[in-house]
């Protein structure tokens, strides 16, 4: 029990938390700005599966995104202006969250508004939108606005004696780490019995399909390379559930995963999956690896927070 208590509550020094907060905010800004030209088509009352369709076919059982059925509210919105207002609110909260302005409320509002939008269109996001709000809530509950944020800057401006700190009570970060493991377990292990994965063809499926692929190349000719990429993902993602918890392999596994996600992003567009998972995997990197980032280089620690041993996290 004391080990678990230590795991969740013992303060750690982890500058990556602030970078993760900014990354998750930017993901929402980037994604929702891209949708501007079609906002009313995707989410508006006269859009696909919108209020007007629901009103015309009141008994038709229109599906919503799995897990978000309690949050499907846009079907009741008859005014396009309300959808614009919610979208604007989401962008403002995402911007505040990225900047660390009113960090906790901004994060919670961002997660809530994202759920409202994501619930409405089950086929729009390839699933990443279902995991995104949980990660944002964890980051909002963690003291991710404690530093590298407008909140911290305002605190210091108000009272110059306030000393910035990278040390945090990590329970929300730990939950995020466990959720990342759960994600890789769900995605990774079933692949070991899946035909296209075992035959090295899944990456070809993704890149040759113009719904996902970014490049119109002759992928068949590159199949040996794509097979190697498939086997890399086939091995690494299930292995991550075992390697990320181990201190000795954690950082290298996390780097391998980030390389995997950015590689997929280079070849295929599957929504925000790759950016989101890359940002989430940052939770497994050592604190010192973030020390090159301007604004995170150095800061004295308050006396009441002891410096954890190098092995405590990194």
């Amino acid at each position: 029990m004391s080990k678990l208590e230590e795991f969740f509550y013992e303060p750690i020094r982890f500058r990556g938390l602030f970078v993760m907060r900014a990354a998750f905010g930017l993901i929402a800004i980037f994604y929702y700005l891209r949708l501007v030209p079609y906002l009313q088509v995707f989410f508006g009352p006269s859009g696909v599966g919108g209020h007007d369709t629901a009103a015309r076919w009141p008994s038709f059982p229109i599906a919503v995104t799995e897990g978000f059925e309690h949050y499907e509210l846009l079907r009741y919105v008859a005014q396009p202006g309300v959808v614009w207002g919610l979208w604007l609110g989401l962008l403002v909260s995402a911007t505040c969250f990225a900047l660390g302005l009113l960090t906790r409320p901004a994060g919670l509002v961002l997660a809530a508004l994202h759920v409202v939008f994501a619930a409405h269109q089950p086929h729009l996001t390839m699933g990443w939108a279902q995991l995104y709000p949980a990660f944002v809530v964890y980051l909002a509950l963690a003291p991710s606005g404690q530093a590298w944020s407008v909140d911290a800057w305002r605190r210091q401006r108000k009272d110059p004696s306030v000393v910035g700190s990278w040390s945090v009570t990590p329970w929300a970060l730990r939950v995020l780490q466990v959720h990342v493991l759960a994600m890789y377990a769900t995605a990774g292990w079933p692949r070991l019995t899946a035909h296209a994965w075992l035959h090295g063809e899944t990456v070809l499926h993704a890149v040759a399909d113009t719904r996902f692929g970014r490049w119109g190349w002759d992928w068949q000719a590159l199949q040996p390379l794509l097979a190697a990429a498939t086997y890399y993902a086939l091995v690494l993602e299930p292995a991550a559930t075992l390697l990320l918890p181990l201190r000795i392999t954690r950082r290298w596994c996390a780097l391998g995963l980030i390389a995997l996600h950015l590689g997929i992003e280079l070849l295929a567009d599957v929504g925000m999956w790759q950016f989101m998972m890359s940002a989430a995997v940052l939770a497994f990197l050592p604190d010192t690896w973030f020390s090159w980032i301007p604004g995170l280089r150095s800061a004295p620690l308050p006396a009441d927070l002891r410096e954890p041993s190098p092995s405590a996290y990194s």
Binding site: S46, G50, G67, H123, Q130, T186, L192, A208
Partner: protein
């Protein structure tokens, strides 16, 4: 026990429970052989589902053994009412076999939504648009029935013609399948029609 200590232990219990639910619900392969643990896994999934938490997802399950995969799809959506009106048309891309990735979010959304139902219908597996996998076809056709251009032409039926290009995984060759159908805007049903 102090109040602070009590609150800390209570919080710890909640954290352990939540993390346990995440892990248990995400390990179906590991739990598979242990049938006694299946109810535990289902309960964990249900509890997380209730609060809207998804432990994880498979993006590309890769379970299909088909030797042909989707390569590209193009559509022409035509409304028929007082006059015929073209509501969407990118068939030319597929006719020219100009294989190029889709960039436009609406086109990507449309292809993702329509291709599955149209392939299913074309193969004769399903008919009812009420079934969940068919619903995107109903929702998109309903949308096209009522876009401003369709309203102006008093559109009563919407026809969707599709060119679907598949890629043969064994030899890299491509093949074209034409699919089509018609939606009466007053009915939630789909009539298959070869273009």
């Amino acid at each position: 026990m102090s109040r602070a200590r009590f609150r800390r232990l209570l919080g710890l219990s909640g954290l352990i429970l939540y993390c346990g639910l995440l892990l248990v619900s995400s390990l179906p392969v590991v739990l598979g052989p242990l049938r006694a643990l299946r109810p535990l896994e289902s309960t964990a999934e249900l509890l997380l589902h209730f609060v809207g938490v998804t432990p994880g997802l498979e993006v590309f399950p890769g379970r299909s053994k088909a030797r042909a995969i989707p390569h590209m799809a193009c559509f022409r959506v035509m409304g028929e009412g007082d006059t015929k009106v073209v509501l969407f048309d990118d068939l030319e891309r597929c006719r020219r076999r100009r294989i190029e990735p889709l960039r436009d979010p609406f086109q990507v959304f449309q292809v993702k939504s329509l291709l599955g139902p149209l392939v299913d219908l074309n193969l004769g597996h399903r008919r009812s648009l009420v079934l969940e996998p068919m619903q995107p076809l109903f929702l998109f056709s309903d949308y096209y029935c009522h876009v401003p251009a369709a309203e102006r032409a008093h559109v009563r039926t919407v026809n969707i013609d599709t060119l679907y290009i598949g890629l043969n995984l064994d030899d890299g060759s491509t093949g074209v399948v034409t699919m089509g159908g018609r939606r009466d805007c007053r009915q939630p049903s789909w009539e298959i029609r070869r273009p």
